[in-house]
């Protein structure tokens, strides 16, 4: 998947968990918990949604690597390319 596809998948999954987030004004470095207010259940649902959409299984230890859009896109691209998908 291209960077644009990954970005879209991540934003779609995020908005699925927190429908009040405006995809247009989502900042690259906004932290999903500190800035966007996701709780641990929301983060689990986000990870589950990414698993469903992309087939990428993000272990708990890697949750910090999807904490912002800027972090998540390269992480997901690398995970997808390494054959997890």
């Amino acid at each position: 998947m291209t960077e644009t596809d990954m970005r879209r998948a991540f934003i779609d999954a995020l908005v699925g968990v927190a429908p009040d987030i405006d995809p247009g004004s989502l900042g690259e470095d906004e932290h999903i918990q500190r800035d966007l207010g996701l709780d641990s259940m929301d983060v689990l649902n986000l990870v589950a949604s990414l698993h469903d959409r992309l087939g990428i299984d993000i272990p708990e230890a890697d949750y910090p690597q999807i904490a912002t859009l800027a972090l998540a896109v390269p992480y997901l691209q690398a995970a997808g390319a390494s054959g997890q998908g």
Partner: protein, 388 residues
């Protein structure tokens, strides 16, 4: 069987707005079936019926504000005749009967957050939800956001009451204010706290979750809820309702789980019969409750049948909370966020994740001794997570 009436979905609820009928005359219903959706101060709630029968007549119009205890529908047992002194006919029964019954909105991604009442109104008016901005929790579109207000229904058993409506956020705040003011006025609260080592639970959880797909993972919050349920079984004086100047212990544990809503407010729907769920079942039940709390699809029984409540501050943040009991319950367990602290384990000072648990209890029903026993039982359970 007979009249199906507006249930009370909280200690201070006076009325609810009928948002949607999910049955029509002639439908067979079973105990526990969701028959209607009612919009309350705490959001849209699915109303279940408690006996089996056949829907004979719908007595309230969608959009009508119906007082608690007022009739919504007539449901007859199979073979039962409609009572002769039946209330006046609805002005437009055929329109109601032919209203298409819409399925619950899809959960999860992509869909626009909107209350069922707002969806119905928007459909009636031919307005696209996507073009509206919501004032509800999480920006959800509410009835009041869909203009203009519903046409006035001709006078009948229950009339719609259009007019200026407070935003859902204000309504939610009012509901919380009413319930909490009553709690602080009527319940002589007392509080006991204990700070405990949750490192064994954390380590056990990390090992258990490793290698599992997201859907199979547990959260620390599920272990806490499970430990509360087991402690409530050991100390039944914490679990039940105070009504008519007496404590009525509950036979099972319907543990209320406080869920903060995005955009403000909170609800504490109950995980029904949590004492019959194992740890994985508890986690699945909590996930389902949170998703439905966000989507506005909680059930009436979940709003009214909680026997005690857990309020957890999550995995990061403040370390302790002494909470306010939800009447008519008699206890609330406030769980702070885990903190890394120097802790003495087997004579050595070591860094450990610790949690402060605070029980708020009703002094009309229990004393410090029982609250202390509750905390000790909780601590034992959380120290041996494999037994949860």
């Amino acid at each position: 069987m007979g009249l199906f009436t507006m249930p009370s979905l909280g200690s201070d609820m006076e009325a609810g707005t009928l948002a949607e009928w999910l049955v029509k005359p002639g439908d067979h219903v079973s105990r526990g079936d969701v028959v209607a959706v009612v919009e309350t101060q705490k959001g849209a709630i699915e109303i279940e019926c408690f006996e089996a029968g056949i829907v004979d007549e719908l007595r309230a119009e969608v959009g009508a504000e119906v007082p608690v205890g007022a009739p919504l529908a007539l449901i007859l047992a199979p073979g039962e005749e409609r009572p002769v002194e039946s209330a006046p006919e609805l002005p437009t029964p055929h329109r109601l009967a032919s209203r298409p019954v819409s399925p619950p909105p899809p959960q999860g991604s992509g869909s626009i957050a909107a209350s069922p009442a707002a969806r119905v109104r928007a459909r009636e008016l031919g307005i696209e939800l996507a073009g509206l901005s919501g004032s509800g929790p999480g920006g959800a579109i509410l009835l009041a956001d869909v203009a203009p207000p519903a046409p006035i229904v001709p006078p009948g058993p229950v009339a719609a009451t259009p007019g200026p409506r407070a935003t859902a956020q204000t309504e939610m705040r009012r509901a919380i204010a009413a319930a909490m003011t009553r709690a602080k006025r009527e319940i002589p609260h007392f509080y006991l706290s204990a700070t405990m080592d949750v490192q064994p639970a954390r380590d056990w959880l990390d090992a258990r979750n490793a290698g599992r797909p997201p859907d199979g993972r547990l959260l620390l919050g599920a272990l806490f809820v499970r430990a509360v349920v087991l402690a409530a079984q050991k100390v039944p004086v914490m679990n039940g309702h105070y009504r008519d100047d007496a404590f009525h212990p509950a036979s099972g544990v319907n543990v209320g789980v406080a869920v903060a809503l995005r955009g403000g407010g909170l609800v504490a729907p109950a995980l029904i019969a949590a004492d019959r769920l194992d740890l994985a079942g508890t986690m699945a039940g909590m996930r389902d409750l949170v998703m439905r709390a966000r989507a506005g699809r909680l059930r009436g029984s979940e709003m009214s049948e909680g026997t005690m409540t857990v309020s957890s501050l999550g995995e990061t943040g403040a370390e302790a909370m002494a909470g306010v009991i939800f009447p008519p319950q008699v206890a609330l367990v406030g769980i702070g966020a885990p903190q890394l602290r120097p802790w003495v384990v087997a004579g050595e000072i070591v860094p450990r994740q610790v949690v402060t648990v605070t029980v708020s209890a009703d002094h009309r029903v229990s004393d410090g001794r029982q609250a202390a026993r509750f905390l000790a039982t909780f601590e034992q359970q959380i120290a041996t997570p494999e037994g949860l």
